[in-house]
């Protein structure tokens, strides 16, 4: 089965990191990439309804260019309010465990620390997010199929019950009504 096209937002105020991330993720052909320098710009794009992202890479500090820009954690909360299914991958130079725990608590899919292997790790996490997304989709499909099958089975039993009640000999055997 072909992988569906997915929209990925990169929200980062560091042009070097954004460029490197784009170059790394370009090889994943099923992704359409959009970049934003602040969380506010990304939220405006989502609210306009132009693009609905499936996966979002979000930097923790976003105010080095625009001092008034909200930080990544408050953008994460807003994104999750709009759609709890957004898969948000947090990226930060902060290696403090409490920062990572806080991000996960507010619904981040994963937390990646900025170091020399960040881009390789990011690609792996994006692929993990896609895999989980596909699994959830399959699960939903199986759930629907199971409900449909249950409904069909119950309908057949009910129909047989009605026929039985009307005195039809369903199994070719002599019934107690005989």
């Amino acid at each position: 089965m072909a992988q569906e096209k997915l929209i990925l937002f990169i929200i980062d105020d560091d042009p070097l990191q954004t460029e490197m991330m784009q170059d790394k993720l370009k090889s994943l052909k099923f992704l359409t990439l959009h970049t934003f320098g602040t969380g506010e710009l990304a939220l405006a794009e989502i609210n306009k309804g132009n693009h609905k992202p499936h996966i979002i890479i979000l930097d923790y500090f976003l105010n080095t260019v625009d001092a008034k820009a909200s930080n990544g954690l408050s953008i994460l909360k807003k994104l999750k309010e709009i759609n709890p299914e957004f898969q948000v991958i947090m990226v930060s130079g902060q290696d403090k465990i409490e920062v990572a725990v806080n991000c996960i608590k507010f619904g981040a899919f994963d937390y990646v620390i900025k170091n020399e292997s960040v881009f390789v790790r990011l690609e792996q996490v994006v692929l993990k997010a896609v895999k989980e997304r596909n699994l959830l989709k399959e699960n939903k499909l199986y759930k629907r199929l199971f409900i449909a099958a249950c409904f069909g089975f119950i309908s057949i039993i009910a129909f047989m019950g009605i026929l039985w009640g009307m005195g039809f000999d369903l199994f070719g055997s002599k019934s107690f009504k005989e």
Binding site: D14, P15, L16, M20, N63, T64, G93, V118
Partner: protein, 116 residues
């Protein structure tokens, strides 16, 4: 004074040996470095350690990507110092850091020239 050591392995794994990519990254890095160093100087002059800390935080990651581990470590230490209320000899350490950064930038530019 010795120029900061460049970790060619990190650079190669980042660019996959693509010279154009390397040139592009060094170009963006140079622009960003000039901007961040100016902000650091401005922060020192106005005694605003938060501006200094933010710029050091940004540079710290960029040094890691660009294969400059020594500068990465320096930025990391200075960022931690900027967190404290009264860092000792901070302006002098920053001046030394800025000098090292410029040497690092020059060393990176030489990598492009020396790449066959």
């Amino acid at each position: 004074m010795d120029a900061p050591l460049i970790d060619k392995k990190t650079l190669d794994s980042l660019t996959g040996g693509d010279e154009k990519k390397l040139e592009k990254y060094i170009g963006i890095f140079s622009v960003q470095l000039t901007r961040q160093l100016a902000q650091i100087q401005q922060g020192i002059d106005s005694n605003d350690l938060e501006i200094v800390r933010l710029s050091l935080h940004t540079l710290k990651s960029q040094f890691a990507y660009m294969g400059l581990p020594e500068l990465n470590k320096m930025a990391q230490d200075l960022e931690a110092q900027a967190h404290s209320l009264n860092p000792v000899n901070f302006p002098a350490s920053i001046s030394h850091f800025i000098e090292k950064c410029k040497e690092g930038e020059e060393a990176l530019k030489k990598v492009i020239v020396s790449t066959p």
